[in-house]
Subunit: 576 residues, 2 copies
Amino acid sequence: MRLSKFYLPTLKETPAEAEVVSHKLLLRAGMIRKLTAGIYSYLPAGLRTLNKISQIVREEMDNAGALEILMPTVQPADLWKETGRWDFYGKELLRMKDRHDRDYCLGPTHEEVVTDLLRREVRSYKQMPLNVYQIQTKFRDEIRPRFGLMRGREFLMKDAYSFDINEEGADKSYKAMYDAYMAIFTRLGLDFRPVEADSGSIGGSFSHEFMIIADTGEDTIAICENCTYAANLEKAEVVYAKKECVKKEVTQTEEVLTPDTHTIAELCTFLECAPEKTIKTLLFNVDGEAVAALIRGDRELNEIKLKNFLNATELEFANKAEVETWTNAPTGFAGPKNLSVSKIIADNELLLDTDYITGANKKDTHLLHIDLERDCTITAYTDLRVITEDDSCPRCGGAISLKKGIEAGHVFKLGTKYSKCMNAAYLDENGKEQTIIMGCYGIGISRLIAASIEQNHDEHGIIFPPQIAPFEIALLNLTPKDEKTSEKAEEIYTLLQGLGIEVLYDDTTERAGVKFNNADLLGLPMQILVGAKSLDNGIIEVKNRKTGEKNELKIDNLRENILNWRDTVILSWKKS
Amino acid sequence: MRLSKFYLPTLKETPAEAEVVSHKLLLRAGMIRKLTAGIYSYLPAGLRTLNKISQIVREEMDNAGALEILMPTVQPADLWKETGRWDFYGKELLRMKDRHDRDYCLGPTHEEVVTDLLRREVRSYKQMPLNVYQIQTKFRDEIRPRFGLMRGREFLMKDAYSFDINEEGADKSYKAMYDAYMAIFTRLGLDFRPVEADSGSIGGSFSHEFMIIADTGEDTIAICENCTYAANLEKAEVVYAKKECVKKEVTQTEEVLTPDTHTIAELCTFLECAPEKTIKTLLFNVDGEAVAALIRGDRELNEIKLKNFLNATELEFANKAEVETWTNAPTGFAGPKNLSVSKIIADNELLLDTDYITGANKKDTHLLHIDLERDCTITAYTDLRVITEDDSCPRCGGAISLKKGIEAGHVFKLGTKYSKCMNAAYLDENGKEQTIIMGCYGIGISRLIAASIEQNHDEHGIIFPPQIAPFEIALLNLTPKDEKTSEKAEEIYTLLQGLGIEVLYDDTTERAGVKFNNADLLGLPMQILVGAKSLDNGIIEVKNRKTGEKNELKIDNLRENILNWRDTVILSWKKS
C-alpha cells in the first residue's frame, strides 16, 4: 500500500480525551477515532490490526473444533425474560422498542440467543458435543466508558458456547477452550496469565480469566512466584500455615474511652497498640438480613468472598439507621460483643490470635481483651479478606506478588444455568430427557489491540508484533526528489509485494524527519530506509522497531538480504 | 470438514414462515434460522457463503482503491439532527436512549457518521480523492420484513463513501464504483442489470441500481432488448416517435349522463368508446397546493415522475373534502375543464391526439369532445406515466421488456447534500474554502445470498456457483460400513484437503438416499460419490450439481482425474 493512497491521519498532539498510553497512541497513529463516549470508528490501519487479531482467534477456535456462526445484534426481550436477566442485568443492557412497540435490547452477550437457537434443533445426545462461536459487535452501556478500546460501549468480541450431554463432556469442552485461549494469547505475543476467577453475574460453576499483564490494567491479580497459580483479587484464596487458634488465657474484657479516634490508625496511636491486635466490624444488609463481617484492623475485606460465602444476591453496607439499631450506638463504634445481627462472619485469620481490641457498641468507647470464642457468638469463620503480597500461595506456599492486569478473555463453565430455565434438553441413550450442560467463552478482540499496545510501546509510539501489525514493513523513501532513490524504493516495493509481504510504502514528499516519526509512531515492526546517501554506498538501512537495532543491507542480492533480516526481526519477537 | 463434526440441521419440511424459494431453501439447507421478524442467525454453512460474498466485494473495492474502515452500529442523534434526517427518516430508524437519556439510533446507513469522521480530518484538497468503505451490520425497522434474507431488518451491507474536490473528480469516483460493481456482480455469477434509478429519500443528483433478475424480485425494471438501456419503473422515460399534436377540428364539448360508471372500463362500455379516448384526472395535495395530473384512461400514473417534476417534498392523494371543493361535485367526476386547482399537469401522450372524454365536475356526468388546448388551462405537459412493454426504448427506439428484479446494489452521486449541511469543507489550491462533493455506494451482502439462490435452484435444492458455495465439493461415503469404501473416502478427503479445496465430507452413517438428498439440498457445485459397487469396478462417480451431469472417474490417477473434472464443472459455470 502506498501511503499517498492510504488514509493515515497521524496527530502530533495527544487529544485531551486520552488517559492511557494505548488510547493516546491509537488516536495519534491514526488507527481509531471517537464517534461518541465509548464508541469508536476504526480507520484503515486500525481495522487491519483488528482483522489480524480476529483471524488468529478464528484459526485457533477452528482448530479446537468450534464452528463459526453469526447471531444478531438486536435481541428480543422475551428471551431475556425467560432467564430473568431482562430485570437482573441492569442499565448496561441497552433497551429499545421497535415500531410495533415490542421490546428489544442490543446484545451485550448471547447466552439467551444461542440457547434458543440450539434448543429448537438439538434433540438427541448424538448431536453433541457442539461448540459454536461468533466474532461480533457487542454493546454494553457502561456507566463510565474510558481508556479508548479498553472499556468501550460498542466493541468486538469473540463469544463461544459449548453444549454437552454431561459434566465430563462439559469439562472436556472447557479444557479445549482453555487450551485454545493459551494458544491464542501466545500467538498474539502477549505477556498473560490465566487466573482463577469469580463467575460473577453471568453465573456458572467455575471460570478462568485470561489477564494481560499491564500497569494500566483495571484488575489486580495475585500470582505465585513459584508455581502456576494465579487468581484475580476477588477469588485469590488466603491460607495460613497454622490453621489452629493458639489458645491463651485472656484477661477480662475492659471498656476504654477512645474519643476522636475515627480510624484504625488513630485508635492504635491513642492506645499504643499494633493494628494487628484490632478487629474491624463491618455491617451489611445482605438480602434484607443484618450481617457483621470481622477482619483484622490492618486488612481489607473482600466483599465478593463474603457474598459468595452467604450465597447472597445483594450485599449493601448498612445505612446509618441500621447501624444505630443494630449497635444501639452512633456509627463508628460497632463491635462483635452484644451486637444485634443475625450473623457474624469472621475472617479465618482471627483464629490465629486472641486478646483483640474491638468497638464497644457505645459512643467513644472500645473494648480491650476480646476473646472472640469467649465473648462473642461467631456464626462462622471463613476466608474473607483480600490477599496481600505478605501472604503465600494457596497451592505451593510460594511468594505471592500482585500485578495489574487487563481482562482479555474469560472461560466459564455455565452448567445448566441457562439451559435449565430455557428448557434446552435432549434425549439420552435411554430416551430420557436431560438438561444440556453449557459453557461460554469470550475474548475481547478490540480490547486486545489496546492491551497489546500497553505492553509494547516506547516514547516514540507503538511497537507492533509482526503478526498483528497493520503492515509488516514500513518502506521509507527518504529522498523522493532523487530519481535513483525513487527507482530503488519502487523496486523494493514491487519486490515485497511480489513476495506477499505487507508493506506500507511512504512515497510522499514529506521530509525524512516526518517520515521517521510517523513510522515510529505507527510502529510497524520493520523499517526499510531508502536514501540517496546510503544508496551511493551500495546499501540500504533497515531498523528493527522493537530493538531499535539498525543494519545495513547490501543492495547486491537485496531480495535474500531483506528476507534474512526479516527472519531475524521475527525471531527477536519470539525470543522475548 | 467432516459432516459428523459440522452443524448442518437440514429440514425435510419447509417451515410455514417461508414464502419465496430462497427463504425456503436457506432454512431447509440449515444455513439460517430466524430469531424474530426480519432478524436471522447464520449457521456455519450460511456464514461461509456470507463471508465468501463479502470477500469478493472486499477484493473489488480494494482493487478500485477504496479503503476499508469500520464505523459503529450505534449512532448519536445529534448527527442525524444536523442533516434533518432525525425527523425525516421515519419509523425505519430504530431509536433508543442510553442510560444518561441521550438519543441514539441503530445505523440504517452511515452518511452522517462518515461525513462527521472526515470533516474533522480532511482539510486540504491534497487529501482527496478519498473513498472509504465498510462491511457492517445495518438495521432498518421495515414495516413488513419478509422473504428471509431478501428484506430483513438486520442485515449485512457494504457501504462506501467517496469524497472529492469537484464534480469531475466525483464523477470519476462514481465511475470507479460503477465499474467495481460490474466486476463484483459478474464474479458472483449473477444475471444482473445496472439500471438508472430515482435517487429517493437519500437524495443526490443521479444514481444507478444493480438489479438481479428474478421473478420474485420486488422491483420492476424496464430493459431494452436492443441496447444497454435499463431503468427501474419509477425512472424509465417514456418517449414518442411523433412528438407533435395532430391538430384536428373538434366539435363543441357536450355533456353526457353516465350513471353508475365508476371505472374507465364501465365508462367505455357505457359510451361504446376506446379507453385511449378517455382521460383520467387525478387530484393531489402537493406540499399544500391543489394539483391535477392528467393521463390517458388506459395508462398508469408514475407518482415519482410527478413528484420530481414538481420538485415536491410531499405528494398525497386529495381527500374527499378537497376533491369536492376543487371539482364542486362528488368524488368520481373530476375533469380538467373548470377545475379549481393551481396546476394541471398533463402527460406528454395526451399531445398525440385530441377529442377526449373527461369527467365533467358534475355528478354522473362526463364531457365528450374535449380539446385540451381549447377547453382547459394546462400548466405543463411532461412524462408522467409508467412505461409499458408497448413503449420503445428512450435511447435507441428498440423494444422494451419489463422484468422483475432484486435490488442488490445502489450507487449514488450525492453531490453536496450531506457535506453542505454538515459543513464538510476543504481548502482549495488558492486557500479558499469549498464544499466536499460526495458519493455513496451500497451492496446488500446478505440479500445477495437470497438473490443468488432465486436465480440458481431446482426442485431438489440450491445450486451454488463454486465461488460462493459454503464448500466446493460434497464428498459422500455411500457405504460407510464397507471398510474399503471408507478407506478410499478418507483418502480422497485427505487428498482434497491437501490441495486446499474446500470439501464437506459426509462421513455419517445415514443411508445413501438421505446423503444424496442433503447434498442436492445444500447444492455444493460438485459431488463425489464413493460406493462399494463402483469401487469394485475401479471407479468413483462424480456429479455436476448444476447440469446434473454424472461422470465416472477411474481411481487410477485419481488426483489428476478429479482436478480435470473440477475444471469442467467450473467451466460449466463460466459458460452460462
